[in-house]
Structure formats: structure tokens, C-alpha cells
């Protein structure tokens, strides 16, 4: 009975290893094959991100800041004008 188990172990580990080694080879192969797609995707994603982040946030903050500063200045002027 134990001999049967050993036979099964040899076959089983053989199949598991060869299956996953083949899978390794195929993953590497497909990664090379599909590299142009991946590159394109990444460059698109890379191009999108800064385009979204920079121009939107910067003017918003600018506008707010100028508004706050000008409000402060006008308030100060109004006060100093009264005194």
C-alpha cells in the first residue's frame, strides 16, 4: 500500500512541477508578447494622471488664495480708512 502511495507521490509531484514550470514559461512568454500593450496602457495611465492633477488643482488653489488675500487686504483698507 505504501508503495502505491510513493508511486502516486512521484507522479503527482512530477505533474504539479511540470505544470507550474510550463506555466512559468508561458507567463514569461506572454509578458514579452504582450509587452507593447502593457507599455501603451502604462503610458496612457501615466499621461492621464498628471493631466488631471496639475492644471485642476493649481488654479483652484490659486483662485482661493487670491480671493482670501484680496479679501484680507480690502478688509484691512476698509478698517484703516475708518480710523
Amino acid at each position: 500500500m505504501i508503495i502505491q502511495g510513493l508511486k502516486l507521490t512521484l507522479l503527482g509531484m512530477g505533474v504539479v512541477f511540470s505544470f507550474l514550470v510550463l506555466l512559468f514559461v508561458l507567463i514569461v512568454f506572454f509578458a514579452k508578447l504582450l509587452a507593447p500593450f502593457t507599455k501603451k496602457e502604462l503610458s496612457q495611465a501615466g499621461a492621464r494622471k498628471p493631466a488631471r492633477n496639475k492644471p485642476r488643482q493649481a488654479p483652484d488653489e490659486h483662485l482661493k488664495l487670491t480671493a482670501v488675500i484680496s479679501a484680507a487686504i480690502s478688509a484691512h483698507r476698509a478698517r484703516s480708512g475708518r480710523h
Binding site: 510513493l6 507521490t9 504539479v16 505544470f19 507550474l20 506555466l23 509578458a31 504582450l34 500593450f37 496602457e41
Partner: protein
């Protein structure tokens, strides 16, 4: 006077009713009379005695089978059900599975109710979902929809760690045969041994699927062992991992993973399925459902199906699977030496799987320029994502800046594929045996 008259009227009315009743009975045909006789209840004392005889308490003490230990056995099994509930609720041991399993164990051991006998609700849940292998496969589909193969695709070398950790399955198989050869009272045939070995795959659905196909009478103990040890991964693995690695090895930093494209991720499930179709069709149910779930996730056009597979459906099936497995925890099937053997072998299986994954990294490091941290080797025993978290924790212990989680997810998901492949090989036993 008035009261007497009223009494008379009532008596007359009662007499009239009796008189009316008897001619109706007399007019009935023979069959109807027999029906009515069946409905008639026995005298009150006999009724009370019958009722007492149908209580759970009476049946625990004096079971129908006449064997005293059958009744006590059911009582003990209810205790085990409560223990499982305690572990799930208080200790947070795989609660999603152990709550339904524990409750199922209590229900199935309720005397008289016969919920797991033909006609009982648990019988149908088990027969429809587990005996056929449908539930574990649906769960596997949900797991596929939840799995991100990105870390594996970014570092394909780790696929070998998923293979190495399956050594535990086969060593345990041999161990089971050993036990049945040398320990009196334990008898496992080759099918049983294969089902016990798969506990080492640390993958609940795979273990339930394989044992339901090869040795259905062991489904209960095997599922309980598999899920209990998966819950115990954070306790079983660290001592082995520390023993097999030096501090310097644990400090090895791993380079950041490259980003993986969407197209690659869509191709991957199809590639694995293709390999399976060509080399190991017996693993097609497991790998097929796993990869189907993953394709739904990655293809991006069936978001609704993917969400259902990984949420609503996996939850529904988990409830039913748990109850069905619990239904297999009857005293006759659980309270014997074999169960102890299975629990013992299960812990050995996990330990060997952990060790072989780590040793495989050390072997690979002899040839590689960029070294791999051996701590991620232990994640090769599926148990997603618990095993990967253990790797992360031990890595942080050695070097607080060392984040291994994503690196460990690679061998972790490779382990799921590895154990499905191993299960596929063991399934061919059915056709191999002469």
C-alpha cells in the same frame, strides 16, 4: 331554578350532539371509518408517555438503535458543534465557514429529527451541493473573481514556490497509508489517503471537492481539519519559518514589482485553462471554475457578474456548503480513531508544506542573482491571504521597512493553482485503479 334549567338545556344539547355523531359515523363507508380511527388519539397517559419517548433527552439516553453509545455520541457531537461555534465566534477561526458547520453539526445530531436522513433538509443540501461537487466549485469561482494574479505575473518565478508547497499533500498521503498500515483501528484506502493529503493544499473548496469525489464518508472530518488548520496558519507557520531561515535571510529586501497590464491579466486565465485542457483535463472542474471567475474579474465588461460571484453568490453558497459539511458530522462518522488520525495528519501536512516552500526559495537563491526572501516561500501553501500576511508579519519583525505582502501574494495564488493541479492528479486515481 334558572340554573337547573340551563344545565338541563346544556345536557340535552350534548346528548343531541352525541346522537347526531353516531348516525354519521354509522353512515360512513368503511375506509373513512378507518381514517377517523387513525386520527383518534390514545388515552392521555399513553400520549404523555409517547411524548416523553420522542423528546431529545430520552433519545440521548435510550437511542432508537438500542446502543447506549449512539445516544451519548450524538450528545458529544452537539458539544463538538458548540466547540466549533465557540472557536468561530470567540477566537475568530474562519468564522464564515465554522459558524455554519458548527450549527449544521448541532442540527444533524438532533435525535428523532433525522435532518440528514433521506428526506431531511440537510440530506438534500448535502446530496445536491456537496456530493455532486457543485458547491465547492461555485466557491472556487467566487475565489477566482476575488483573486488578483498581478503579483504572480509580475514575478513569475514565485510560481515554483506554489509547486514546492504541494509536497505536503503527498507526504501526508504516504503518512495516511503508514498510519492505516501500522495503527490498529485506522483503515484508510488509497482514496481516503489522497483525500486526507489534500488538506495540505490548505484550500477548503479543493479539499471538500476532492474528498466528496473520492471518499465521501470523510468529507466532514477533512473539511473541519482543513478549515481549522487554515485558521491556525498564524500559529503553525512562524516557528517553522524562523527555524528554517537565518536573520539575514529574513532581512532580504525584494525589488518593487513591475506594473502588470490589463491585457496580460485577461490572457492569464485563458493560458492556465489552456494548459489544463491540454495536460490535465481531470483538473478542469477546479481550474476551469477558478479561471472563469478570474476572467470575469479581469475582462472588465461583466462587472455585475464578477461582483455577484465574489459577493452574493459566494456568500449564499458558503452558508449552504457549511451546513452541508456540518451534516456530515454525525457521531458514527466523526467519533472514531480515523478522525484523530486525520487531525494529526492535517497538522503534519501544513507543516511540511510550509517547510518545503521555504526550502525551495533557499534552493532557488543558490542560482539567482537577485535573491528572494525565503519568508515568502511559506505562502505557497494557499490559505489566501492568511499565509501571505504571516510572511509580511515575520518580514516586518526582521526589518520594519520590509514589506513582503505583495511579494508573498505571488506564491500564495500560485499555491491555489498548485493544489488544484495536485487535486486533478489525485482525481485521476479513479480511472488509474485497476
Amino acid at each position: 331554578m334558572c340554573r337547573k334549567r340551563a344545565l338541563c338545556v346544556i345536557l340535552c344539547f350534548a346528548a343531541l350532539l352525541l346522537l347526531m355523531g353516531s348516525p354519521v359515523q354509522a353512515a360512513d363507508t368503511g375506509a373513512q371509518a378507518a381514517d377517523q380511527e387513525a386520527v383518534l388519539l390514545p388515552p392521555i397517559f399513553e400520549m404523555a408517555a409517547n411524548f416523553v419517548r420522542s423528546t431529545g433527552l430520552f433519545n440521548f439516553l435510550f437511542p432508537e438503535t438500542g446502543h447506549f453509545f449512539d445516544g451519548i455520541g450524538q450528545f458529544v457531537m452537539i458539544g463538538i458543534g458548540i466547540l466549533l461555534l465557540y472557536l468561530a465566534i470567540n477566537k475568530k477561526f474562519e468564522p464564515l465557514l465554522l459558524v455554519p458547520i458548527g450549527f449544521g453539526a448541532i442540527l444533524v445530531n438532533t435525535p428523532v429529527a433525522g435532518m440528514a436522513d433521506p428526506g431531511g433538509v440537510l440530506y438534500y443540501i448535502y446530496t445536491i451541493g456537496i456530493k455532486t461537487g457543485v458547491f465547492p466549485l461555485l466557491i472556487f469561482m467566487g475565489v477566482g473573481a476575488m483573486t488578483d494574479f498581478g503579483p504572480l505575473l509580475a514575478n513569475p518565478k514565485t510560481v515554483l514556490l506554489g509547486a514546492a508547497a504541494q509536497v505536503g499533500i503527498f507526504i501526508t498521503l504516504i503518512g495516511a497509508l503508514f498510519l492505516s498500515e501500522f495503527v490498529p483501528g485506522i483503515h484508510f484506502d488509497l482514496f481516503d489517503a489522497a483525500s486526507i493529503g489534500i488538506i495540505g493544499g490548505a484550500d477548503g473548496p479543493t479539499a471538500i471537492f476532492l474528498s466528496s469525489q473520492l471518499s465521501p464518508h470523510l468529507v466532514g472530518p477533512i473539511a473541519v481539519a482543513a478549515y481549522s488548520y487554515m485558521a491556525l496558519v498564524p500559529m503553525i507557520q512562524p516557528p517553522i519559518m524562523r527555524a528554517l531561515t537565518t536573520k539575514n535571510e529574513r532581512k532580504i529586501r525584494m525589488t518593487q514589482l513591475r506594473p502588470v497590464g490589463k491585457v496580460e491579466k485577461i490572457f492569464f486565465p485563458l493560458v492556465v485553462l489552456g494548459l489544463c485542457v491540454l495536460l490535465l483535463p481531470s483538473a478542469a472542474p477546479l481550474i476551469g471554475f477558478f479561471m472563469f471567475g478570474n476572467l470575469m474579474r479581469e475582462c472588465g465588461v461583466v462587472e455585475r457578474l464578477s461582483q455577484t460571484a465574489q459577493n452574493a453568490m459566494i456568500n449564499i453558497v458558503t452558508i449552504l456548503l457549511g451546513l452541508g459539511v456540518g451534516a456530515q458530522l454525525s457521531a458514527a462518522q466523526f467519533l472514531n480513531l480515523s478522525t484523530l488520525g486525520i487531525l494529526l495528519l492535517g497538522s503534519i501536512a501544513f507543516s511540511i508544506g510550509t517547510a518545503s516552500g521555504i526550502l525551495m526559495v533557499k534552493l532557488m537563491n543558490l542560482f539567482l542573482k537577485t535573491k528572494i526572501n525565503p519568508l515568502i516561500g511559506s505562502a505557497g501553501v494557499s490559505a489566501v491571504p492568511m499565509a501571505a500576511r504571516v510572511s509580511q508579519k515575520l518580514g516586518m519583525e526582521a526589518d520594519p521597512q520590509n514589506h513582503l505582502l505583495m511579494h508573498a501574494m505571488g506564491p500564495n495564488v500560485a499555491g491555489v493553482i498548485g493544489s488544484a493541479v495536485a487535486a486533478g492528479v489525485l482525481l485521476t486515481l479513479k480511472s488509474l485503479v485497476i
